[in-house]
Each structure stands twice: as C-alpha cells, then as structure tokens.
C-alpha cells in the first residue's frame, strides 16, 4: 500500500474503532440497566473480592452478584451484556491498534505514530484501552467497563474533531529513538494514571454518597467494589504509573532533550509541568502513607496530579504554543 492508502486506512480504522467503542459503551450501559433488577448481595464481601480467591477468578464473574435464584434471568442478561461489552472493547482495541500502526506506516520513512497531538492522543487512549484490558483480570476491573469505554469514546471523538492532523514525516528534532522511548513511557504512564484517576474518582464519589447515606440500592455505586478495594486499585494503578512516569519525564526526556536541544533540562513549560506532575504524584504516595491522609485526602491529591498531567498535555500547547520547545504540538 502507498503511504496515502495507509493514511486513509488509519483514519477509517480509528473511525470504526470509535464506533465500536460506542457500541461497547452502550452494551455496558445495558448491562447496568439490567443490574438494577438484580438484588445486591446481602453479604458484605464485595464483588471484586469474590473474584479474588483463586478458584473463581474468571473475569466474567467479577461483577456477578450473590446469586439469589429468583433473579436468575436478569443475572444472565447482565452477564451477557457485560460479555458483549467486553468483546466489543477488545474489537475496538484491535481496530485502534490497527489505526495506530498504519498511521506510522503512512509516513515515508516509516516512523512511530506519536509525532503530534492527534497521534499522541490516539496512542494515549490506546494505552488506556490496553491497560484496562490487560489489568482487567488481575485487578478485577470489569466494573470499570462503562467508565472506560465512555472515556474512550469522548476523547477519541474530540481527538478527531479538534486535534486531527494529516499523516506525514516528523520534524527533525523528533528523529531519535529516544523519542520512541520517551513518548512510549509517557503514554503507558498516562494510561495508568488515567485509569487510576478513574478508580479514585469513583472512590471519592462513592465515599461521599456513603457518608451522606445517599447510596441507592441497586445503583451503579453499590455495584462498585468496596471503598477499600476501589482505593487500593487506584493506588496500584498510580503506583504502577509512577516509576514509568519517572523514567519518561526524568530519564528518557532529558536524554532526548540533551541530544536535540543541547541541554538535558531547560525548564521549558512542558518540562516544568512534567516535573510538577511528578512532584504531586510523589506527594500522593506520601500522603497515602501518612496517618490521617490515606483515603480521601490522598485521592484528591492523585486527582490533582492527573489534572496537572492533562493540563500539561492540553493546556500548555494552547497557552504557550510556539513558546514551548516541544513544538511538535503544533505540527
């Protein structure tokens, strides 16, 4: 195929991926609607923990409810729609990957598909999607399906509408394998932080509702893992992302900067914000280990960290544009 054909293929693949994610989102919504008619298990051992014992750790049962027999029909439907949602997410993820791959092939010479904002977002959302599917079984993330697919749909749409750029080769400053490493690490870390923020956001919502006694039986919140498990999943995702972010921002980035700009740390706005993000996540990890901060306060810090990550990614390019050395933002 020619580069133009690859480019067209990539655009189509991403479009179809978005559509499939929309369908996955709808399937998960349906799943939750049916869940309404399934009674919440009386036992306080939460769904996420049920899956934790080795014998029943099949992903499909992570959401399964306590199993009272009169609701068997609804339960089956919940299970069915959950599986459909998951299967669609897998398909979407494959299309997403195809789109990313062909985006790289659409340039002569072939290059990594994260040379501008559009592609970075494409890759970042792929990171979230992949991270969710990979960690789903280990951390029992099935309850995240609605949130993750919803997130993917919104961000991918915005990416195509607002940030789209035609495929083509990179500016010379980006001709470096350190770019590959630096951005790949940043993408993986951002994926983990995004999923972590989702978990901690839900933790905060559920925590607040619980405190105020406003939890509707059978609603979304009751189906989430216990507060403790939510908080722990959020912590683990962030803890997974933190060393990778450290590597991306404080190792690979400086090395690349040294090659490209002649000094490894320039206090360029992007670098400043990568550093701020790093410091806030370090503060989060500290707060979580400090008496009185674990839980609510620490989670808020993690969300602030994620906000600074987002600001670095979106805000800096809009506010500072050409002022930043990271000029690939504009293309």
């Amino acid at each position: 195929m020619s580069t133009a054909e690859f480019a067209a293929f990539s655009d189509n693949a991403i479009m179809f991926a978005s559509i499939v994610y929309v369908l996955a989102f709808l399937a998960h919504l349906t799943e939750w609607v049916f869940l309404r008619s399934v009674p919440v298990p009386a036992q306080e051992r939460e769904p996420a923990l049920v899956g934790a014992s080795a014998e029943v750790s099949e992903p499909g049962v992570a959401l399964a409810t306590g199993g009272s027999d009169n609701s068997g029909n609804a339960e089956e439907r919940v299970e069915l729609w959950g599986r459909i949602g998951l299967a669609l997410t897998v398909v979407g993820c494959l299309l997403h990957f195809g789109g990313l791959l062909t985006r790289g092939l659409a340039s002569d010479p072939v290059r990594v598909p994260w040379g501008n904002m559009y592609e970075f977002t494409l890759a970042g959302t792929f990171g979230v999607s992949l991270m969710y599917l990979v960690l789903m079984k280990r951390y029992h993330l099935r309850w995240m399906g609605v949130a993750v697919t919803g997130f993917l749909v919104v961000v991918l749409m915005l990416d195509q509408l607002v940030l789209y750029q035609d495929a083509g080769p990179l500016v010379p400053a980006l001709h470096s394998y350190w770019l590959v490493i630096h951005v790949l690490a940043a993408i993986v870390a951002s994926g983990a932080f995004a999923t972590g923020a989702l978990a901690l956001g839900l933790f905060l919502v559920k925590d607040r509702a619980t405190r105020r006694g406003k939890i509707r039986p059978g609603g979304y919140l009751t189906r989430l893992p216990s507060l403790e498990a939510l908080e722990r999943v959020g912590y683990r995702l962030n803890a997974f992302g933190f060393p990778i972010w450290t590597f991306a921002a404080l190792v690979a980035g400086p090395i690349w900067a040294e090659y490209a700009w002649g000094s490894y740390w320039n206090w360029d706005p992007k670098e400043v914000w990568a550093f701020i993000t790093w410091v806030i996540y370090a503060a989060y990890l500290h707060a979580r280990a400090t008496a009185g901060w674990k839980g609510k306060a620490a989670s808020v810090i993690a969300l602030v960290g994620f906000a600074s990550l987002l600001f670095n990614f979106v805000g800096i390019n809009f506010f500072f544009g050409a002022g930043s050395l990271h000029s690939y933002s504009g293309g």
């Binding site: 014992s53 010379p172 600074s308």
Partner: protein, 547 residues
C-alpha cells in the same frame, strides 16, 4: 536528655488553655531546636514541602524566564511597566534560581536527610532482627483464619514452615506450637535507596547548574567560530563557572544542507538538516570533520556543540554617496515562521554623508496576493526576494550603549519618502532579487543584493555532573520499584490439639490451625495472600522446599 516535648506539654500547667499542637511550647533553646527538627523531618512537613515545590514551579512556566528567552522577558517588561519591577524583585523572571525556590528545595533536602539517617539506622537493626513473637490473640489481627486438620500438630507446623519458606518468608519458631514469619525486607531498602538517590540527583543537577554554561552563537556558513566569551550572542554561565575554563575549541562551518518536504500535506516542513563542520580541539590540533545534525551533536571533552537552528543571511553590498563600498557581507535575518519569512536590519555606520539603515524582510520563495501582501510560499530559497525600507541619519551606535543587531534605533533616523505616497505608503520601499542594484534617492548611495548565504545557530554547552544525575535517577527508579512492588508482610501460625467433640464423626483428635497476617505496606491485598497461605497449608502434600 530523654524528656520529649509531648511529655512536657502533658505535664504543663493546666490553668492554661491547651495549645494547638503545632505551636512551639515555651522551652529551652535545646528543646526548641529539637522540636523544630522533629517538625521539619516529619512526614507531614515533607508532604507540605513537596506541595510547595510543585506550587513554586508554576510561575516558572507562566512568566517568561530570562534563562530561556531573554527577549520575551524584555517584551514582557515593556508591556507591563508597573508589574515588571515587582516581578523583578520577587525573582519571578528567574524562578528556578530565586531565593524562595531554593529555600523550598533546601528545606526539603534537609528534611530528607533528617528522615533518611534515622531510618537507615532502624533498618540496619531491623534487618538483622528475627521476626517478632507470635501475638497472643491472632484473631485480632487484620486478617486471620482458623481451620482444622487431621494431621498431628508437628506435621502441620513443619508443613506450614515449608509453605512459608517457599513463599520466601523468613521463618522462626519462637515457641513449640507456633511460627513467626516475615518477608519483604527489601522494600524498606528500596525506599531508602530511592530517597538517597533523590539526593544524588540533586547534587548532580546542582553541580551542573553551578559549574556549567550554555551559550548560543549564530555562524554564517563559511565562517568560523572560536570558543571565547566575546564570540557568543548569548551566554549563560553557572554561578561558579570560570570563563578561563572554556575549552579552546574552534569550528568552521563548511556547508549546510536542508531538505524540505516538497509535496504532501506537510509540505514545507523540514525533513532533515545538517551542517558539515571542521573543528580543532585546540589551535595546534589537527582539524577534524563532523556532520552536525539535530540529535547528532559534537562532543569533545568539556564541551558539546549542538545544531539548534538555521536561517538565511542575504549578502549585500552598500555603496555610500561617494561611491565607496561602505558595507559588504552577509546579514543575519531571523526566521519569523515556518515558511522562513525572515526579518532583519542592515546597519551601515561607515556611509557618508549620512549613516544608512535598512530594515525589512527576506522571503526565500516570494509570493504576493493583494489580500495577504508579500509572503513566503516555501521555506527553501527558490525565488529569494529582499524587501527593505531604507533610512538615513544617525544610527546612534557611538553612544557606548549596546544595541540589538536585529533592530534599528530610529530616534535620529529618517525614512526616504516614497515616490507615490497614495498608492505605496509614505516610505520608500526597495524590492531586490539576487543581482539587483537599487539607487537611493538624493545620491545617498546604492544597495546591491549579491546572493543568499545560510547561517546556523550553534549551542555550545557543558553540563558537568550529568552522569551523576542520570545514575541517580536510574537508581531512584530501581529503589522505587522495590519500594512500591515489594509487599512486606508478617504471618503467624499457631497449632493446638483439641479433644474430639460430640459432633465429630469418628471421635479422633484434631489440630486447630490459626493463621494470621499483617500487611506492613499500604498497597497489598492481604486477604488474598492469607487465603493463598490457607489453601497451601490445607493441602496435604508438602511443596518442595527450597534449600
């Protein structure tokens, strides 16, 4: 002295209202400094300082910084006449070198040292200590299980010991009927390694900031550059940098190549650029060649040279009113956008009867529409055009003030009037293609556009200590992984024999096993670990033990 401040507070006069816990009690200086030290090295203070560090960095990304872009700072000062002096006082144009920023990170460093040292001591002791004795009430621990087995207590205990060993616990039997086990000692080591490495990174970074330098120089292709202060267009030395230590490097830029994309959606974007250079590490050294490109710097001991930019330098010949050549040579024009439309000025102080100046634009590939006016269609020099506004008078160079080479001081200069003010605007404008000559009015002279050269911007720098900083970060990451992913845990097993109960099927004595665990980190899923241990202990066959 062993009395702690808490005890002092508790023993204080009860007639006084209770103080808020964070205010220093009235104590002797020694006690006060102890109190301050404990506050400074507390986890909460570390947290607050981390926040302050993040917060203190924010202005550095919002307000223009002198060491990044001095021109922007100057523009900012022009625009904000009132704010600028205040900002200047607060060090907001050099946030990362300011007193308050340094204060935050120095406090953090002190807090860090104060935190690491005692922990190192504790760790050293804890490392060699045996796992703690079995608590009396295992059922009160965060996770505990009780189940019964048929085997004898000794058999069960031996089996449990093997299971725990296999799971890499350190196991001791303080008592005959119970086991204490602990694992994950390396987590604390990883955490300490991480914090020590943070110190190492900061030392390496600070060393580079203090003793390094960074300078930029624009060199026209064909000319050379020798490494001395006077040659630099901009130079920012570290505080302790000694200019005598500049390495005696000299560089001649032989040639420069740039390739722009000529088709496709990103037409006009540079595909690659590089410069052929010849350099000598010292004046008497043999010349060596290097292909300087983005991502391919020149590194010689003590100095690195990077290609960071390029642009056009139109070569002009200016004759004055007497017909003498008053200026001949390349003039550096700075690119204004991706199409390399560039702006610049030609100053001719040696012209008679009056000094001459020209300001204007260079278009590598000239284009014109009535809506946009003149513009550059493409960044390569396919149809170069120089468009200048000439002026005459006094350039103001003699006053001993330094002046930018990229702008004219128009105070005592006057434009030439245009021939048709209605259609062309008030000032005369000159449009030149290579080879063209234009006479100035009133016999003031002429200007000829000879050809177009290119210039490259070289960045010359030295950052000593970067090896230290890099190894520091790498060690920090290793430590971090240990700290975050190793789960330190304690586990205890106690077995007791009990007599058969009425309900027991065959009336044999059975062994009650109590199993309990404690997670010493904050992220572990203790329940599933203990479930797993329970499962393994209940399995009758003994797993193979590691030696």
């Amino acid at each position: 002295m062993t009395m702690t401040t808490e005890q002092t507070e508790a023993g204080g006069s009860s007639s006084q209202p209770p103080r808020p816990p964070s205010s220093p009690p009235a104590l002797s200086p020694v006690e006060l400094s102890r109190w301050a030290w404990r506050q400074l090295t507390s986890m909460r203070t570390a947290l607050v300082l981390l926040f302050l560090l993040a917060l203190a960095s924010v202005p550095g990304s919002v307000i223009p910084q002198r060491n990044i872009d001095a021109v922007k700072v100057a523009n900012f000062q022009d625009r904000h006449g009132h704010l600028a002096p205040v900002y200047e006082k607060l060090g907001l144009f050099d946030v990362f070198g300011s007193v308050w920023f340094s204060a935050v990170y120095i406090l953090l460093m002190i807090s860090l040292v104060g935190c690491i040292v005692p922990r190192l001591r504790i760790y050293w002791r804890g490392m060699r200590a045996a796992p703690p004795r079995v608590p009396r009430h295992l059922g009160r621990l965060p996770e505990s299980r009780t189940f019964e087995l048929d085997e004898d207590p000794d058999v069960v205990l031996a089996h449990a010991r093997a299971v725990l060993r296999k799971k890499r616990y350190r196991v001791v039997g303080h008592e005959d009927d119970a086991l204490s086990a602990e694992r994950g000692y390396l987590r604390e080591a990883g955490n300490l390694l991480f914090h020590v490495s943070v110190l190492v990174v900061l030392v390496g970074f600070a060393y580079g900031q203090l003793f390094g330098f960074k300078g930029g120089v624009v060199t026209v292709v064909g000319q050379d550059f020798s490494n001395s202060l006077s040659q630099y267009d901009d130079f920012s030395p570290g505080r302790m940098f000694d200019p005598d230590h500049l390495s005696p490097l000299s560089i001649k830029v032989d040639d420069f190549h740039v390739k722009f994309l000529t088709s496709g959606p990103q037409m006009g974007q540079p595909e690659s650029f590089d410069a052929d250079i010849t350099y000598r590490t010292r004046p008497d050294a043999a010349p060596q060649k290097h292909d300087l490109a983005v991502n391919h710097p020149l590194s010689v001991p003590g100095t690195s040279v990077f290609l960071v930019g390029h642009g056009y330098a139109p070569v002009v010949t200016v004759k004055d009113g007497d017909g003498k050549v008053a200026y001949q040579g390349p003039v550096v024009f700075l690119p204004m956008d991706a199409s390399f439309m560039s702006s610049g000025v030609v100053k001719v102080p040696y012209a008679a009867p009056e000094q001459l100046g020209f300001e204007g634009f260079f278009f590598p590939t000239y284009g014109y529409t009535s809506t946009t006016g003149p513009f550059s269609q493409f960044p390569d020099k396919l149809d170069p055009v120089l468009s200048l506004t000439p002026s005459h008078g006094d350039l103001g160079l003699g006053l001993g003030q330094s002046q930018s080479v990229y702008s004219l001081n128009m105070k005592n200069m006057e434009y030439f009037p245009s021939s048709d003010p209605k259609k062309l605007g008030p000032n005369a404008r000159i449009k030149l293609s290579p080879g063209d000559t234009v006479q100035l009015p009133d016999n003031m002279g002429s200007i000829r556009f000879d050809r177009v050269d290119r210039w490259v911007k070289l960045q010359v720098s030295n950052s000593p200590g970067k090896g230290i900083a890099l190894s520091g970060v790498l060690l920090a990451i290793v430590g971090l992984m240990g700290s975050l992913f190793i789960r330190p845990r304690r586990a205890w097993v106690r077995v007791t024999r009990r007599d058969p109960l009425d309900g027991d099927a065959d009336g044999t004595r059975r062994t009650v096993v109590e199993l309990a665990g404690l997670d010493r980190s904050s992220g572990g899923d203790l329940a599933s670990e203990i479930d797993e241990l329970e499962r393994l202990v209940q399995k009758s066959e003994t797993p193979k033990e590691h030696a």
